[in-house]
Subunit: 246 residues, 2 copies
DNA sequence: GACATCAGAATGTCATGACAAATATGGCCC
DNA sequence: GGGCCATATTTGTCATGACATTCTGATGTC
């Protein structure tokens, strides 16, 4: 099933060619032009038709393979995956996820202050114990319902954070626009029963099951930029990730 | 800080050169020969010294960047990440995780039978509703304590599964050795309170918080090879993943 | 002394060419 | 008709060469 997908290239654009190719193949898959299981033309032919070299086409395909959209097999070819994979593993915040899902997220900032780091937080963030760190406590709502209780610690001076900014744009977006380039995150998920305080803030009864998440995010150079300890109402939220084996 | 790491290449080996390079750099990092923050030699010099081309060296480095061990910055160089990243996102089973952690996992097989698939499972596995599928129910123990209740559905005829095999080697290892090549998994995590049955099997009290996981694994060609619905004792287990932004 | 400009260094992107390895397909033989 | 084998196809790996882009640091000017 050779699909005839048309790809326009703009060689004057600063966007890399392999990325232009990858994006347009990705769009064709989303549109349904390339149904699951369909075969792409082979790399040589594709390169020839696009006026590109094979390595460039390979790079584009590899990018989509890493995202879980395509599957390659030597001697066979490249196919669109069958099972609809939601989306690749990405460094997103709850805020991003909600926005993407079309829900209107709202935030109430409970705490936004600097103070000395306790031993645990200092070790995680890689600062001396007792050094000043920014502490953040928020409630996240979706569709008017409380959804999660968010607790964060950040090194001071990383980005100018205000309660207004946090309410309107979310922590990750603020960090990104301040030039912080987040690259790796370590995330641990668990569950436990709600304490009385948590139950009150989230509108659950005491002892209700909560989904917990500990996350530490590192930047470009491996420096910790954020540590979070969050609890989600299990009745209203679950976390999804896609794992890909190289 | 130019590190002098020695890399031996075996050109007669079937192992790709880029992979040999990547593994030996990775080992040097684990050993501590390349401490966090240290800079690698630049790609051109490295290629020259190893007698390889720059693309091959780049491929090796890219592989480690994807695993979260290295960080590259244009105009600067390649560095070992600071924060110790545990391990990359991998397609592993609970059995693998426990083995790696040094715990001796044990399994009790409760159910191992074929039967008609209900509508939900049929849709997930991509088989006609009512088709025969393999159903599996197990309890996983670690250090003598019950840890999780595992529920799986698989297409029939994928691999010869026996209760003995499952007890000794785990599901994923059995699938792998049967030639099933798992590539992508979609995983959803949540939490809920234990039912009476679950509480009894796991040695918790009724209503205790459980970590839940739904996972569907796809192979090479995007065909679903396994669907699981598992519950873990939140008091004894949490799930860790590492996210990497390309 | 502070700021702007410029040069060097490193990775990012892309092209061309070649051979190796794995898979599926078809034909041949039994 | 079924199984084995040669072959064509396709991706995997590797080499060489070139130019672009970005960041750092040093130099020079005001």
């Amino acid at each position: 099933m050779t699909a005839k997908l048309s790809i326009d290239l703009d060689r004057s654009s600063p966007v890399p060619l392999y990325f232009q190719v990858a994006e347009q193949i990705s769009e064709a898959i989303q549109r349904g032009d390339l149904p699951p299981g369909s075969r792409l033309d082979n790399e040589i032919l594709l390169a020839d038709r696009l006026g590109l070299s094979r390595p460039t086409v390979r790079q584009a395909i590899q990018y989509l393979v890493d995202k879980g959209l395509l599957v390659r097999k030597r001697g066979v070819g490249t196919q669109v995956v069958h099972g609809q994979v939601k989306r690749s593993v990405e460094l997103t915040s709850l805020y991003d996820d909600l926005r993407r899902a079309g829900q209107e997220p709202a935030t109430r900032v409970l705490v936004l202050e600097t103070g000395p780091a306790d031993e645990r937080v200092a070790a995680i963030l890689g600062v001396p114990a007792g050094a000043e760190v920014l502490r953040l406590e928020r409630i996240r709502y979706a569709a008017g319902e409380p959804l999660a209780l968010l607790h964060n610690w950040l090194p001071v001076g990383l980005a100018p954070l205000t309660a207004e900014g946090l309410q309107e744009r979310g922590l990750y977006e603020l960090l990104r626009s301040a030039g912080v380039r987040m690259r790796v995150a370590n995330q641990r998920m668990g569950a436990r029963a709600a304490t009385a305080t948590e139950a009150r803030l989230l509108g659950e009864r005491r002892g209700a099951p909560l989904l917990t998440m500990l996350r530490t995010t590192y930047d470009d150079q491996g420096r910790a930029v954020e540590h979070g300890s969050h609890v989600y109402r299990a009745s209203h939220y679950s976390l999804e990730v896609t794992l890909i084996e190289r």
